[in-house]
Amino acid sequence: MQELIERWQAGDVDAFDELFHQYKKLVFKSALLISGNVGDAEDILQEVFLKLWTSKHTYSSRKGNFINWLYKITVNQSISKCRKKKIHSLSLDQIDSGSGIVDNRERIEPNLDRKWEYEALTKLVSQMDEKHRLVLILRYFNDLPNNAIAEILDIPIGTVKSRLHNALASLRKKWDGMEEK
């Protein structure tokens, strides 16, 4: 990985292509969850890698992990796009209607009996404010620990914990009601 980053920083186009293919899904899907819009996620993907192309000298391993740096750019570009357009996350129904080829990435197989629970959760998360939604996405989609989330969002680790606590507590409150339906 370190060698690939060094090659990319030295201007090796093949190394850039390799980085793109390695991380495009991660960036695209995170952007899709944050922006809630496929078109915006496509734009964000382009903007993030264009930034990578043009600002390769601004990255230094001393600033932290490369992936966290990439997440940081993705989150910032997505937030900036969302704030401009004030778009909230899409529901599963809306996303299903935008057909596409099934992604090859290994994924957790959904339990079809619980589809309505996933949909209800998606809706609840989409109704949350940006700061709580971001923490949930970074934790449960990107599977990042609190310190990495703190680094990416540039907030203290205690704030990450409290946001995560509040977000989960809010989902927990509504969970029983959902199960009773």
């Binding site: 993907l45 043009t54 004030k86 992604d103 629970e117």
Partner: protein
């Protein structure tokens, strides 16, 4: 850490070191820990104390199970939300094209800066200061003269921008005040000879606003907004893909690089009930479809009213 935990009779207790008091750690405390922390991030001794409490508390066992269930469902829900989305095949090529354009622009800026740096002698303060003062004076006088001579453009813009309807559209969408230099103002006379104006601007690359301003009453008649969202983009790309002229380009390896909402102003002849012919200014929203093949650029026009491709031309710009 201001407190230390200990176990007595199977319950978790915490001692507040600052106040020297012993507090019972109840299920609420455990719930806070379950909600806010990955179990992997807890020190082993705390983890052990919490595990012991949970083993002895049915309420906490149930809470833990619900929270873990929510966490599991969240993971699946996020995966499901993104599983069907597809990255366009030409993304990497687009990034490289964009980077090349930016490099070209940067190099032009550099050349321009270099060109002007030849006139380094102008940096001498004794020449530059009076020259700058004279330039500012001349520009200011010219600007005042221009404003006094024709302020209709500025006025139409101000009327539009001060209108609460437009302000509400801009603020509700978090748009800033538009860049004045990029606002187009078209003045025209209506059938009664009264001055009117269209004020058009992009509040965002995908959001177009055209205000119809009554210059005689200093009011905004109508506000027309047009948003190019992803659904509309898909429709336009679908229609473009069925157009034989664009199909021919795509078969040669062309790519649709960008969609851009725009407008066309025109004056059309109308007939009033008395049979008199008069001219009326109007506008149509269109979408420019930019197509790139090798180094050639093409532009197709999608008419928003008819939903059809009206023109495909070589974009010489």
């Amino acid at each position: 850490m201001p407190w230390q935990a200990s176990v007595k009779n199977g319950m978790v207790w915490k001692k507040n070191r600052l106040k020297g008091m012993k507090l019972r750690v109840n299920c609420k405390h455990i719930s806070k820990i379950i909600l806010g922390t990955h179990s992997g991030e807890l020190p082993p001794e705390q983890l052990e104390l919490i595990s012991r409490h949970i083993n002895n508390c049915q309420y906490c066992q149930q809470e833990l199970s619900v929270i873990r269930d929510i966490e599991g469902c969240l993971k699946v829900a996020f995966e499901e939300q993104t599983a069907w989305a597809q990255i366009p095949e030409n993304t990497l090529e687009n990034i490289k094209q964009q980077a090349a354009l930016e490099k070209q622009a940067a190099s032009k800026r550099h050349l321009l800066a270099k060109k002007f740096s030849r006139f380094g002698f102008l940096n001498r303060r004794q020449i530059l200061t009076p020259a700058l003062a004279v330039s500012i004076l001349v520009i200011s006088m010219l600007a005042i003269h221009m404003i006094n001579r024709s302020n209709s453009g500025v006025t139409a813009y101000d009327i539009a921008l001060n209108d609460p309807q437009l302000q509400s559209v801009l603020t509700s969408n978090s748009f800033m005040e538009p860049d004045k230099s990029k606002v187009t103002v078209i003045n025209y006379l209506d059938t009664h000879g009264k001055p009117q104006a269209f004020v058009a601007f992009h509040a965002d690359p995908n959001f177009l606003v055209v205000a119809d301003v009554d210059m005689s009453a200093n009011t905004l008649n109508r506000l027309n907004t047009f948003v190019l969202d992803s659904q509309m983009s898909k429709e336009v790309i679908g229609v473009a893909g069925n157009d034989s002229r664009i199909q021919a380009l795509l078969e040669q390896g062309a790519i649709i690089s960008n969609l851009y909402p725009a407008y066309v102003f025109y004056e059309k002849e109308m007939v009033n009930p008395d049979g008199e012919v008069y001219k009326q200014a109007s506008f149509d929203f269109i979408i420019q479809i930019r197509i790139v093949i090798n180094s050639s650029k093409y532009m197709a026009i999608y008419d928003v009213n008819t939903g059809q491709i009206t023109t495909v031309v070589t974009d010489s710009k």
